[in-house]
């Protein structure tokens, strides 16, 4: 992981919480043991502690994020998703969460495999590179897309492995991961219709949240 993507532009609900984090939190059972990979300043961990009563731990790459989190009383360590997940034993957590970070890892597939080794379930959220705004920019403007949720220039982006919802679903199939739940959010942070077909999600979902578990 190079550096954590900026998430300041993600929509917030009336309570001031990021909509994608609320969605993630809703997928977590009460009292569960949770590892948040790339936990930033600990916003999700705090939300989980307050609303779901979880035993939460975090890994964060940036020293400022870690020190802020620890000073808030959260159990966070400085570390890198690409290298440090290997140190965790099997089945150590109920959930391993990767929020808005998958596309910034060097080896997304390995990270995903580790998440489902360490945790019984994994929750992954990421910006959808198949969103119509992204497609239109590349098609008509001919430059690397820059949107509210992907604000970087091609040369300074931490996002080195963009994927679309379709790509992610395909990866899950390849490594034999079961999709228990999936939600796509539009640009205003509202969930898309559950019965919409994948192509619709892939075109109109600005970001997606997946709850995954091991097959079988």
């Amino acid at each position: 992981m190079l550096s954590r993507p900026d998430t300041a532009h993600i929509a917030r609900n009336s309570g001031g919480a990021r909509v994608d984090l609320v969605l993630v939190a809703d997928m977590v059972e009460r009292g569960a043991k949770v590892l948040d990979v790339g936990c930033g300043d600990g916003e999700l961990l705090r939300l989980l502690a307050e609303t779901r009563d979880v035993d939460g731990r975090g890994i964060e790459l940036s020293r400022e994020g870690v020190n802020d989190s620890v000073a808030k009383g959260l159990a966070v360590i400085q570390g890198d998703a690409d290298t440090d997940l290997a140190d965790y034993p099997d089945d150590a957590f109920d959930y391993v969460i990767l929020s808005q970070t998958l596309q910034a890892t060097r080896h997304p597939r390995v990270v995903l495999e580790h998440m489902l080794r360490i945790g019984r379930r994994a929750i992954v959220s990421f910006p959808n590179f198949g969103h119509w705004k992204v497609r239109l920019q590349l098609l008509f403007a001919g430059h690397m897309p820059q949107t509210d949720i992907l604000p970087y220039s091609w040369y300074d982006t931490p996002n080195i492995h963009h994927c679309t919802i379709k790509d992610f679903v395909q990866l899950c199939d390849e490594i034999g991961v079961k999709m228990e739940k999936a939600v796509a959010l539009n640009a205003w942070g509202s969930p898309l219709r559950l019965n919409a077909p994948w192509w619709f999600w892939n075109l109109f979902g600005e970001q997606a949240v997946f709850l995954l578990s091991r097959e079988g």
């Binding site: 731990r57 870690v66 020190n67 620890v70 000073a71 009383g73 360590i77 965790y88 034993p89």
Partner: protein, 397 residues
């Protein structure tokens, strides 16, 4: 004249037996200390200080473990030097380890020289100081003695065990030996084992002490000689360099001259850094015992948590640990570098323990843990606040 001074010195009760401004817990024949070496130390005593008030539930006790050359005078004036406590940035009213919230205990380690039984203490069998007949002690022995003190104080579970360097080793040993008695643990700037480089530096210090003709095979107290100003001072000077960093030394001293304009073509302290080190050496020997230095450095050298564990894995020392850990390291600490703290964190993660880990940016080297580092203070405060909430401790005692 010299003879007269020594006689006078002998009439004054020695700090090693009768410490000033300290409480002393005596452990008689019914409470022997069984050491790792197999030797049983009895009777023995532990000199300690407490600050703050123990609450009715006896649940707000914080044990502070001191480093190699520290002692129990953690937050109040030192009886020998007259200086303030060694961790007053951390401990006091409304400080991160708040004396208005917590009952703070700091005990001189076994083998020390500030009132807990050590090589300078009087051996009851001979009426003379133990000197080298004192048994070699380990970090685990120090922790055993502290656990007996905590029992003596009627405390079952410690809210926190905190310490840096050798104190951090004791914190790790506490969590490994008595997991149910340690609610939270703060090992700072330490490691699960002493590295070859660190053992090597200690050996230099010990050889400096033993090479001093006044040391007399360790019997200087009975022979009335004074090895302190040579051997022990040199040991301290060498060690002190390892507590700093190249950047800190350069910032503080550079190549500046001491009270002169140019080099004197002699071996005087031409440079400020030399003068500073000499001062560090001289001021240290006022308050420390040469033999204690040998024993305590040895205890650190022997420390290797993994050696006591199944499969030689540190993680097994913390299996199913209920303790909340906060590991802290400093970027410029080359004595206990961040990689050592990371190894602790990996082991704790592998054991499924609840751990936080922060590395603090500073150029002040290993000594940073004793200094006014705002980020260190904020992290300790935040971690303890979180632990206090989890423990259900109220704001005031």
């Amino acid at each position: 004249m010299v003879e007269a001074n020594l006689t006078a010195a002998r009439d004054v009760p020695r700090e090693a037996d009768s410490p000033r401004d300290s409480d002393v817990a005596h452990f008689g024949a019914d409470k022997p200390l069984k050491l790792d070496s197999g030797v049983v130390l009895s009777p023995f005593q532990v000199a300690y200080k407490t600050y703050g008030t123990l609450n009715a539930e006896r649940s707000n006790a914080v044990l502070v473990c001191h480093a190699l050359t520290g002692d129990q005078h953690v937050a109040s004036e030192h009886p020998v030097t007259g200086k303030g406590g060694w961790w007053e940035t951390m401990i006091g009213p409304r400080k991160p380890i708040d004396t208005e919230r917590y009952f703070i205990i700091c005990a001189n380690v076994i083998g020390g020289c500030m009132g807990t039984t050590g090589p300078a203490s009087t051996d009851p069998r001979t009426g003379k100081p133990y000197a080298l007949s004192f048994p070699v002690v380990t970090i685990r022995d120090m922790v055993r003695a502290q656990a007996m003190l905590v029992d003596y104080l009627g405390i079952d579970t410690l809210f926190a065990v905190v310490g840096g360097s050798m104190g951090g080793m004791q914190v790790l040993q506490w969590a490994a030996s008595y997991p149910e008695r340690v609610f939270s643990a703060l090992p700072i700037a330490c490691a699960t084992r002493h590295s070859a480089q660190n053992i090597a530096f200690h050996e230099v210090g010990r050889q400096a002490i033993m090479a001093d003709p006044e040391w007399r095979g360790g019997n200087y107290l009975t022979e009335g000689t004074d090895p302190q100003h040579r051997g022990l001072a040199v040991a301290r000077m060498a060690a002190h360099i390892t507590y700093l960093s190249d950047a800190a030394l350069h910032r503080k001293f550079g190549r500046k001259f001491q009270d002169r304009e140019k080099v004197t073509f002699s071996f005087d302290a031409d440079f400020q850094v030399e003068s500073y080190l000499r001062y560090q050496g001289i001021s240290f020997v006022e308050r420390f015992d040469a033999n204690s230095y040998l024993y305590l450095t040895r205890a650190m050298d022997y420390f290797d948590l993994a050696a006591d564990c199944d499969g030689g894995l540190v993680a097994n020392a913390f299996r199913n640990s209920p303790t909340r850990f906060c590991v802290i390291s400093f970027t410029s600490d080359w004595l206990f570098p961040t990689s050592e703290s990371r190894a602790i964190v990996h082991a704790l993660n592998a054991a499924g323990a609840r751990v936080s880990f922060a590395e603090i940016v500073t150029d002040k080297g290993h000594d940073a843990f004793l200094l006014d580092e705002p980020e260190l203070l904020a992290i300790v405060r935040g971690f303890l606040d979180g632990a206090r909430k989890a423990r259900g401790l109220s704001g005031a005692p």
